[in-house]
Amino acid sequence: MDHRRIRTLIVVWAGAVGFAASPAFAQGQTSLSSLLPDLILRDVTLPTPTTPGLSHSAHFSPFGSDDPDNPEVAIVESVNKLIGDQLASFPIGSSTGGFTYTFDPGLGTFRRGSSSFGPAFAERATTNGRHRFSAGFNYQHVSYSSIEGSNLGDGSIDFYLHHEDCCSAGSGAVAPPFFGVNQTPDGTNLSPFFEGDVIQAALSMRITSDTFALFGNYGVTNRLDVGIAVPIVRVSLDAKVLATIIRLSTSSNPLIHTFVAGDPTATQKTFARSGSATGLGDVLLRSKYRVADFPGGGVAVGLDLRLPTGDESNLLGGSTQGKITLIGSTGQSRLAEHVNASYTLSRKNGTTVPGTAIVSTGDFPDEIGYAGGAEFVASPRLTVLGDIVGRTLRKAGRLDMMDKTFQYELPGPKVLPPHMSQFLEFQPRPGNLNLVFGTIGAKYNPRGNLLVTASLLMPLTDGGLKSRLSPVVGIDFAF
């Protein structure tokens, strides 16, 4: 190996690992895993009255009114968990080592491990070869367009914050804002009447992540490779809710719930939070053992260990996982095929929103993975590739858009049954999350042992957090 190349490699690795080892730094008001719960469950408040009287300020805020049993908490928690799980475990490209020539004693000359340069998001059975080293990096930018089929950016995801059960009908002052109530809950939102109001929080959200992953692979023997992938991740969240007071029960008393004290027309207000965090993601230790050979291909077993080096509270990682992969590939002709099947076992962990018991990132789910694809050797220097990559996040939880019914009373004599209104809102349910991606791309060898990779990752399913078309570029060098 050329000494200048080794020095350059060491400098690049030392710089990157040094940067990556520094603590994650976040910009914004709170940790990213708390951003959404804080925005929806804490921030949406009404103004504090300037004159003495009953304050409705935090009556629609489960965090502000210390109401963890509010059903809205579970809904936001589920949405947040789904986002956190997928951001922290989004697949990074594989480091297949590009190409290697090894001396084949039986053949009496050199033989390339495979005619192709390998897949982009799957693994193939070929190994580097004894004492051969390859290193490189991948960069991928991912932005997300929808969650469970609902557009993230157009404000079509609504949350409905019902009024806290703050009060009971009593003998207080009759004039507004007291309406003759006592400030002690009575176990129902039907009395006093103003507890029947609802705030619709229409969420718009922009979520992006950028991952720069450095990797190195070393052939311990002709059959055994060990490797490491060090991702440096930047996650950015930009969320806002357009809060609209839906005066189900106070339409005749519009000054009770308003975003501007004394202004009955102030029924809407936008609340926003944004933040980003950059730091080390979860470091991957990889190994691959080629157990069987056949002409141009073989069967291998991969064992990956994912270390929880990423800051979980900022959605950079935090998952401890062990993954076993069965790999089969061929590569003798111009068309090479590969198939992977894997199971990922996750250690359970999770974080909570500071000061609450609300789970902001949940237990990372176990995962069943599969991939299959082909590489076409367009020329000795160019491989065109395509993959289907599937992931089943076991018991990750799902969200269904369902009608939710709110009951309310109007001022005056009670009616039975109470008035009802229905709104469409996410409802969490248990279940597996199936994600399928397609990739197309190319690997090109411009000179020497340098390999340049460019591919596109496209989601083929609507479940969970759906990404847009994500570009991935990379450099691979075999020494």
């Binding site: 020539y101 009496g108 000359t109 050199f110 390339r112 003798q332 000795p380 060898n445």
Partner: protein
């Protein structure tokens, strides 16, 4: 005097002994040179066949070679320089011999960087009709 003479005669005999013993060795030299030349000739044909990236030509020297795999390997090559030296005949029979040699190959691939490897190989040669061929590699 006779004793001194006897010593001289003894010294002469001792001095002449190597010559006497050397006579049969000198008689074997052409045979060794022939085997050595045969081995060199086979290896020369083998290296030329490899360097020409012609799998069929390699098969003529080494009939047991997997031609299809070799053709696949040659497809990835732009050129292959082959040099064989340190040829030694380890043992021989009437129609076979074991040969050790050092093989240096420099590969210029169609994709990837040039690389060189040097290996010491031990191979078995066999006389097939009038032609010597490589029967196989021991290492």
């Amino acid at each position: 005097m006779p004793r001194r003479f006897l010593w001289r005669v003894f010294a002469l005999i001792v001095a002449l002994l190597p010559l006497g013993a050397g006579t049969p060795v000198a008689a074997q030299e052409p045979a060794d040179r022939t085997l050595d030349a045969v081995a060199r000739d086979v290896l020369q044909r083998y290296s030329a066949a490899l360097a020409s990236l012609d799998a069929d030509a390699v098969k003529k020297v080494q009939p047991s070679i997997d031609v299809d795999t070799l053709k696949q390997a040659f497809k990835q090559m732009r050129s292959l320089d082959v040099a064989i030296d340190n040829v030694r005949v380890l043992s021989s029979g009437s129609a076979s011999m074991r040969v050790s040699c050092r093989v240096t190959q420099t590969l210029t691939p169609k994709a990837g960087a040039k690389q060189t490897t040097t290996v010491t190989r031990v191979m078995q040669l066999r006389k097939q009709e009038a032609l010597w061929i490589i029967e196989g590699f021991e290492r």
